[in-house]
C-alpha cells in the first residue's frame, strides 16, 4: 500500500466549483432569453441558435485536435460562445452566415490566442464584429416580433426611435432586434440568478449601465440632460452585453476596482457610438474596445500588497 500513496502539493481539499460548472451555469442563465427569442421571432431563431452552437463546438474540437491539445468540450466554453454569438444575430440571418461567425469566433477569436483563458477579445463579439463587417446587409435585416402587422423587415428601435414602441414593449421584448437581446425581463431573470449565486459580480453591469444611462441622458437630445436614458438602457443589446458579455471572466479585469473602470469605459463607448457614431448600436464595439484595454486596467489596479500603503 505504501507504493500507492498519492503525493501532491497542498492544499488537499478544493471547492466543488469548476470552470465547467461556471460555463454551464452561465449557459443555464441564458436559457430564458433564448426561449423568449424563439417565441418572439419564431422557429428560425432556434435554427440560428443551434447552428451557432454546433459550429462553435465542432470548430473547437477540430482545432484542439489539430493543435494536438486535449479536447475539452465538456468545459462548455465553446458551447457558450456559440450561444452568445447566436443571441446577438438577427433572427433571419442565413445559417451559413451563422456558421461562418462561429468558426471565426472560435478559430480566430479564441484558439488563435492559445485557447481558453488566453484570448484578448470576447470570442462571441469578435465573431459578431466579423459578420457585421463581412455581410452588413444580412446583419441588419430585422424580423418583426410576433403579433406585428408587417412580418418581413423593419428597423430596430435604435435605427428609428419610438415608432410606436412603449417601454413595456421593450421590457417584454415586443420589438425587433437580435434573438437573445430583446426580452429584457428574461435577461434580467438570468442576470439575477448569476448575481445571487456569485458567478458574476455587480461591478461591471452596474458601471456599464449607469454610465450608458447618464451619458445618453446628458447628451441624447438637442438640449443637455433631456435624453431618453431608459429607452437607451432597454433597447439594443445593452442588457445582454452588460450582464453576459462584458462580465466574461477571461476578457474583463481581475479586481473589483478594475471591473468598475471597465464597465465605465463600456458604457461611455456605447453612448458615444450610439449618439455620434456611424452605427446605430455600440455595445459590441464598446466591449471589444474595453477588452483591449483590459491588460492596462489590470496593470493599474493591482490589489494592495499586504503591509504596504
Amino acid at each position: 500500500m505504501n507504493n500507492k500513496l498519492i503525493v501532491s502539493t497542498s492544499p488537499h481539499i478544493y471547492t466543488r466549483e469548476s470552470s465547467a460548472k461556471i460555463m454551464w451555469m452561465v449557459t443555464l442563465s441564458l436559457v430564458p432569453a433564448g426561449i423568449a427569442g424563439v417565441y418572439i421571432f419564431g422557429l428560425s431563431s432556434l435554427w440560428v441558435i443551434l447552428t451557432g452552437i454546433i459550429s462553435a463546438v465542432l470548430t473547437e474540437a477540430a482545432i484542439q485536435k489539430l493543435r494536438g491539445a486535449a479536447v475539452t468540450l465538456y468545459d462548455g466554453s465553446a458551447l457558450l460562445t456559440g450561444l452568445l454569438l447566436a443571441y446577438c444575430l438577427p433572427p433571419a440571418v442565413p445559417l451559413w452566415v451563422v456558421a461562418c461567425g462561429s468558426v471565426f469566433a472560435i478559430a480566430i477569436g479564441k484558439q488563435a490566442f492559445g485557447g481558453l483563458g488566453q484570448n484578448i477579445f470576447n470570442p462571441a463579439l469578435a465573431g459578431r464584429a466579423f459578420l457585421l463587417a463581412a455581410w452588413p446587409t444580412y446583419m441588419t435585416t430585422w424580423t418583426n416580433p410576433r403579433g406585428a402587422l408587417d412580418a418581413i423587415t423593419s428597423a430596430t428601435p435604435l435605427d428609428n426611435a419610438f415608432v410606436g414602441v412603449t417601454y413595456w414593449d421593450l421590457f417584454i421584448g415586443r420589438r425587433s432586434g437580435c434573438i437573445g437581446e430583446v426580452c429584457i425581463i428574461a435577461l434580467l431573470a438570468g442576470a439575477l440568478f448569476l448575481l445571487m449565486s456569485g458567478y458574476i459580480s455587480w461591478h461591471i453591469p452596474f458601471s456599464f449601465i449607469a454610465t450608458a444611462g447618464i451619458f445618453t441622458w446628458a447628451f441624447g437630445a438637442d438640449t443637455l440632460f433631456s435624453g431618453q436614458w431608459l429607452f437607451h438602457i432597454l433597447s439594443g443589446g445593452l442588457i445582454l452585453g452588460a450582464f453576459f458579455m462584458a462580465t466574461d471572466y477571461v476578457t474583463s479585469p481581475l479586481t473589483n476596482k478594475g471591473k468598475l473602470i471597465f464597465g465605465f469605459g463600456c458604457g461611455l463607448f456605447t453612448g458615444i457610438i450610439r449618439l455620434w457614431g456611424g452605427y446605430p448600436e455600440g455595445v459590441c464595439y464598446a466591449i471589444l474596445l474595453m477588452n483591449a484595454a483590459c491588460p492596462l486596467i489590470d496593470r493599474y489596479t493591482r490589489p494592495r500588497r499586504f503591509g504596504t500603503k
Binding site: 503525493v7 501532491s8 461556471i22 481581475l254 504596504t308
Partner: protein, 434 residues
Amino acid sequence: MGKTRLSPPDFKERTRALPIKAMGAVPEVVLPLLQHTGAPCGPEVAAGDNVKAGTLIARSKEYVSAPIHSSVSGSVKAIEEKPHPILGRYKAIVIASDGRDEQDSSIQDRKDTASLSADEIRKIIRDCGIVGLGGAAFPTHIKLKPPKEKPIDTFILNAAECEPFLTADHRLMLEKPERIIEGMLIAMKVLGVKRAIIAIEENKPDAIEVMKKIVDNDSIKVVSLKSFYPQGAEKQLIKTILRREVPPGGLPFDVGCVVNNVATCFAIYEAVYKNKPLYERVITVSGKIVKNPGNILVRVGTKVGDIIEFCGGLSEEAAKVIVGGPMMGIAQYTLEVPVIKGTSGIIVFGKSQVKAPLSQACIRCGRCIEVCPMGLNPSAIAQAIEKGRFDLAEEYNVLDCVECGICSYVCPGNRDIVGLVKLAKQKLKNKERK
C-alpha cells in the same frame, strides 16, 4: 475594497469532543536531526548508547537552532537517512525502546520559577528544544528575544486553529487551560510585556468560555474571532486583532508584537516548571477512513503508520496521507515517516476524498485575488511561473506568499498555484546564492 472571507468546511466534528489520549512509548522512534527552522543539529550520541526519555541526543552551536531529545528510553540503534515529513529524506537518530519508558533524571519540578531571570528562562526554553508548534517550528527562544530597538507591547496567544480537521489545540485548551496560561505568563515575563490577547475562533465556544473563566481582565483579554481561513496565519491574526500590518519581509517584532501558539505555551510551561524537553506533543489524527480518529499525545519520532494503527487502522486503503492539515500539510509517500516537533496532525484520505489538482487553464475569474490574505495576484504569479518567468513572479511579490493554499482551494480550474509558488521560491533562492 474588502476581502472575501472564506471558510472551507472545517471537518472538526469528528474529533472536537474527543479527550486527548496518550499513546505512550513505541518500540522504535525516528528523530530527524532537523525538525525546526534553522541550523540542523549534530548527533551527541552514537549507536549503542543508552538514553532515556528527555536525554539530549543532538544539538547545534548555531543560535537559530533547537536541540533534540530522545522521546523513549532505550538504546541508539542507528544514525542514518530516514524518511522526513517535509524534506523527503534526512539524517535521523533511530532509537529502539527498552519498554521501560524511564525519564531522564534532569526532568524535575522546578520550585523557584518566580526568581528566574529572563535570560535564564530563555536558556531553559532553548535547552528544552522548544520550537513553535503551530507548524513553522521556529525556535522559541529567538521569538522571545526581540531586537532592542523594537519595543513589544502585545503578546498574542494564537488559538485560532483555522486549519480544517485539526482540534489538538482546541482539546489542549479544554483540558490544560491553566498550564497554557502559565506558559503564556512566562513568555510575557521574558518579553516584559503587560498586554496579552488570547485569540480563539468563534467555532470553539467552549474553549473561549474555559479561557475566559481563568483570565479575562484589562491586560489579558480573550477575543472571539470570526472563523475564516487563514485567520490563524500569523500576519493575518495580527491584522485582525491589532489592525497592524507586518511589512513585506518583516516579522511580528516590526509591529510590536509576538505571536505564540497554544501548544507552544504549554511546552514552555513544561520546560520551565518541570524542566521537561519537548519530546511529545498532541496531534489530531482524522479523516473519514480512520477508524478511531482522535487527539493523541504522541512521542516525537513516532512513525505515522504506528499512529494510524493505534487509531484502529483504516476502513479502506489510504490514497493520501497528509502530515499537518489539509490546507498546508504535506502529502507523504510512506507511512514510515515520523512525527516531528512541528507536526500538528495526520489526515488520511481514501480514494473518494482525493481530488488531485487538474491544473486546467486559468479563466481569470479573479477568485484567488479576492481571497489572498497577502494582497497578491496568484493568477498572474502562477502564469508567470508556468512560462518560466521567475523574475516576473518576483516582481509580483511571490516571496510575500505564505502558502496558505486558499487560492488553490477556490480555483475553479484546480490550478496548483501553491506548487508553482514553492518552485519559484526555490528558484529565486538558488539564484540569490549564485
